[in-house]
């Protein structure tokens, strides 16, 4: 093995041009041999790959396997440059956008310099590297750089092009890049965490689903930034990478879902696509991670997320453009930038020059997350002001309604209970018989109960009103020996059923029942309440009703003597008709064959 390695060194020395290169020296190809491990039989074999150009990705050549890459590079240094470097006592800077990230290197057979070489775990995203090639190890003419990189499957192990240049200048450049990257990650993460907490708080207050989804998505994004700060994670590589991929995929999927929720126009196919995406992402990514094969992410989930985002953004942009809503437009544009950058990154990642050099998407995410934050704040503000306005208006309406209601109640109690009490007082004064007083007192009580029933909140349930009515009337019917057959089905909600409506219905029905008890000499009454579509009822012409609206039909059929033509009954009927008109209802009182009367009240529900 060792001998083979030395053969490389000699070969490359021979192959190299004798001319010394000016700085910076770019190493874009090198001799490579790899040690591939076989975990099953605990053996490894060394393979010669010859001259390979950079960037070189381990996973492309040896997916699902671990091992070590042994790179050997050859570069020429001018005599004067070497003298100058040795004079400075520093050396040369070696920088690469991606190296490793567990590696060791040496120049001209000097002792190995190790970077993370003994770390058990690594991670997917690797940071740019800078190493010093110490002055004392450099020599004029041919120099040999050996670089060993340990690789684990799905850990983005590999090497991008290496640049050898002036130590202080390249270190400064490296620091700048690193700080920019770190700063960006820190900003993105903090912003996302803030948006996450903000939307979580709004969700807690409003219970609006979209805020919760935004919150989870932003939490994913914030956590996704963690690999900028952790070179060697404390958990196994495959676990760390799986979590990272999942976070990314769900961030994209959930944000698409939110965009769908924010647009009122439905798109079932997109909903279905997002649903499938969200449901299948976790199992496939986990399966890939367990098999130590991250290709499922690169080949499927990364393009799928970009595609999904692209489609969602296009819809979102179109919809928000039509709404001519400034914030929505800005947001759509910024998300559009994410897609373009994402596509660019994807193309770069697949191109030979790529591998860790494309990072535009992170910048655009920062912008789009900022836009999401703005939109959330605006949406919350709108919601609050709407609620406030609504509350204010409602308050005003309630006040007015309460005042009207109070006046009506006073009037009503005055009319019914008041006059009855005066009547009672006159009976007492006239020393009326005990049973007359008793009957009259009960009538006053009944009046009062009816008035109170009318103000009970029944939440639009007319059946309860009818039921309470029966409850009140039953003793009187029993006393008159009239059998009541009750047939009330569950009725649809009568949205505008207020005290006034209830009172009209009560009075109409009471009038009908009073007639039956006092005049009809009936033995049996059939009370039916049904809900039906108005265009099916025979009383209204179907072509006149544009949409089928629901009606409640109440019918009271007795087997009494039928209608008499007395003027008092006529007045009662007029009164009932007037009340029915105020309800928007129709009342029909007809004679039944062979005997009895049929009263029908049709009340529109909406």
């Amino acid at each position: 093995m060792k001998r083979l390695r030395w053969l490389h060194v000699i070969w490359s020395l021979l192959a190299c041009a004798a001319l010394a290169q000016p700085l910076p020296i770019v190493l874009s190809a090198g001799q490579l041999s790899v040690t591939v491990s076989h975990p099953q039989d605990r053996e490894s074999d060394l393979r010669e790959l010859g001259r390979q150009s950079l960037p070189w990705k381990w996973d492309t050549h040896f997916p699902r396997q671990s091992g070590v890459m042994h790179f050997t590079f050859n570069f020429q240094l001018e005599q004067t440059l070497v003298e100058q470097i040795k004079g400075d006592g520093k050396g040369l800077g070696l920088s690469s956008i991606l190296m490793g990230n567990r590696y060791r290197y040496r120049v001209n057979g000097a002792p190995w310099q190790q970077v993370g070489w003994d770390e058990p775990n690594t991670q997917y995203r690797t940071a740019p590297r800078w190493q010093l090639l110490a002055a004392q190890h450099l020599q004029p003419g041919a120099n040999i750089l050996e670089l060993d990189i340990r690789a684990e499957p799905a850990s983005h192990a590999g090497l991008s092009r290496i640049e050898i240049s002036d130590a202080s200048a390249s270190l400064a450049a490296h620091d700048r890049t690193s700080n920019q990257r770190m700063g960006l990650a820190l900003m993105s993460g903090t912003l996302s965490a803030l948006i996450c907490m903000m939307s979580l708080a709004i969700w807690w207050k409003s219970r609006e689903k979209s805020f919760l989804i935004v919150s989870i998505a932003q939490a994913c994004f914030a956590l996704w930034q963690i690999d900028f700060f952790v070179d060697y994670p404390p958990v196994p590589t495959w676990v760390f990478n799986a979590v990272r991929s999942v976070l990314y995929v769900y961030f994209a999927g959930l944000m698409c879902w939110v965009s769908v929720l924010l647009i009122s126009r439905p798109a079932p196919w997109l909903n279905r696509a997002i649903k499938i995406y969200l449901w299948t992402a976790l199992p496939t990514l986990l399966a890939g991670a367990i098999l130590r094969d991250y290709r499922i992410f690169e080949l499927f989930w990364a393009p799928a997320s970009v595609l999904l985002v692209a489609v969602s953004v296009m819809r979102f942009t179109l919809a928000s453009w039509k709404k001519s809503d400034g914030t929505m437009r800005v947001n759509a544009l910024l998300t559009g930038v994410v897609v373009i950058f994402g596509l660019y990154d994807l193309i770069v990642a697949f191109s030979p020059a790529g591998f860790g050099e494309a990072n535009l998407v992170n910048y655009s995410f920062l912008l789009s997350n900022f836009a999401v934050g703005m939109m959330l704040a605006r949406r919350y503000w709108n919601m609050q002001s709407r609620l406030l306005k609504l509350g204010y208006q409602k308050n005003l309406e309630v006040k007015q309604a309460t005042m009207l209601e109070r006046q009506r109640l006073i009037q009503d109690i005055h009319d019914s209970v008041g006059s009855q009490l005066v009547g009672l007082l006159s009976l007492v004064n006239a020393s009326a018989p005990q049973n007359v007083l008793r009957t009259h007192t009960f009538e006053v009580l009944d009046e009062l109960r009816m008035a109170l029933d009318a103000i009970e909140n029944v939440d639009g349930d007319l059946a309860v009103v009818l039921a309470s009515m029966r409850h009140r009337l039953q003793p009187r019917l029993d006393a008159a020996n009239i059998r009541l057959i009750w047939d009330v089905e569950a009725l649809p909600r009568f949205a505008q059923l207020g005290p006034q409506h209830i009172q009209h219905i009560q009075r109409i029905l009471l009038e009908i029942f009073t007639n039956i008890i006092q005049h009809a000499k009936a033995t049996q009454v059939l009370f039916t309440a049904r809900s039906e579509s108005s265009n099916l009822s025979e009383s209204s012409a179907p072509e006149l009703t544009p949409a089928p609206s629901r009606m409640i039909r109440i019918s009271i059929d007795d087997d009494g003597v039928g209608m008499s033509d007395s003027s008092t009954r006529g007045r009662g009927l007029d009164n009932m008709q007037r009340r029915a008109a105020m309800l928007g209802a129709t009342l029909a009182v007809t004679a039944r064959k062979p005997r009895g009367t049929a009263a029908q009240l049709h009340i529109p529900v909406n």
Partner: protein, 250 residues
């Protein structure tokens, strides 16, 4: 009228012991009337009466009664507190609310606090009923008015109105399948009990409801008795739920 009773007497069957009835009402006329009605209806009973919540409460703590008649609007507090107090200590005492008019919300609250029934004061003036109501309460529960039944349903969050599927059928929609729709019922009522409450809320009498449900009137009374008990048991869960709902609203 105030008679001493021995605290800590055994509960349960008291066939050979005089029945113990206590009541609280702030109106002297009402107290007199109730006392005379009770004296006529239950000549052997030990009857104790109170004017205030404080007096009744102190007595209730020490003395188990067979029947408590409780007026809700007392000068020094609500009778609901007394109901709760008695119910917590004595599971077998029958609690009857006596009130003016159908104060639906207070009655529902009383039932949830543990009352077994209610009686309207004006109904006591008719040829009815205190004695027969007490008998009814011991058999089952006292009648539930439609409004009370519908309020109870609303509190249990059971829709009193038909669903689309039920509306299609011409039959009066019964509660078959209703409990399945609402998932595992938190209120603890069986579908049959819910069905009964729905029918009562629509104005059917016990007898008619029994006919529609295809059971004996005695079964309906048993249902009512169970409804009273379950609603009292579940009132705590309900209170927790309402508190949570309010927390969400804030």
């Amino acid at each position: 009228m105030l008679q001493k009773t021995q605290p800590g007497q055994s509960i349960g069957i008291r066939r050979n012991q005089p029945m113990k009835i206590a009541f609280v009402d702030d109106s002297p006329q009402m107290r007199q009337m109730i006392a005379s009605v009770l004296a006529l209806g239950f000549p052997d009973a030990q009857v104790t009466s109170f004017e205030t919540l404080a007096g009744a409460s102190a007595f209730a703590r020490e003395n188990e009664q067979d029947i408590w008649l409780i007026d809700l609007g007392l000068p020094d507090g609500s009778g609901v507190d007394l109901i709760r107090q008695v119910r917590e200590k004595f599971a077998r005492t029958h609690l009857l609310v006596i009130t003016v008019f159908t104060d639906a919300d207070n009655i529902v609250t009383s039932i949830q606090a543990g009352a077994n029934g209610y009686l309207l004061k004006e109904d006591m003036q008719r040829d009815l009923p205190l004695v027969s109501t007490i008998e009814a309460i011991r058999r089952g529960g006292t009648p539930l008015s439609p409004l009370i039944a519908s309020r109870l349903l609303a509190r249990m969050q059971i829709p009193a109105l038909p669903t689309a599927a039920q509306q299609k059928t011409s039959q009066p929609p019964l509660a078959s399948g209703l409990s399945q729709e609402s998932g595992a019922p938190e209120h603890g009522l069986t579908p049959r009990e819910v069905e009964l409450l729905l029918l009562l809320g629509r104005g059917y009498t016990y007898l008619e409801a029994a006919g529609l449900m295809g059971v004996e009137i005695g079964t309906v009374q048993t249902f009512v008795k169970r409804i009273y008990t379950k609603l009292a048991v579940n009132s705590r869960t309900q209170a927790v739920f309402e508190a949570r709902a309010m927390g969400v609203m804030l």
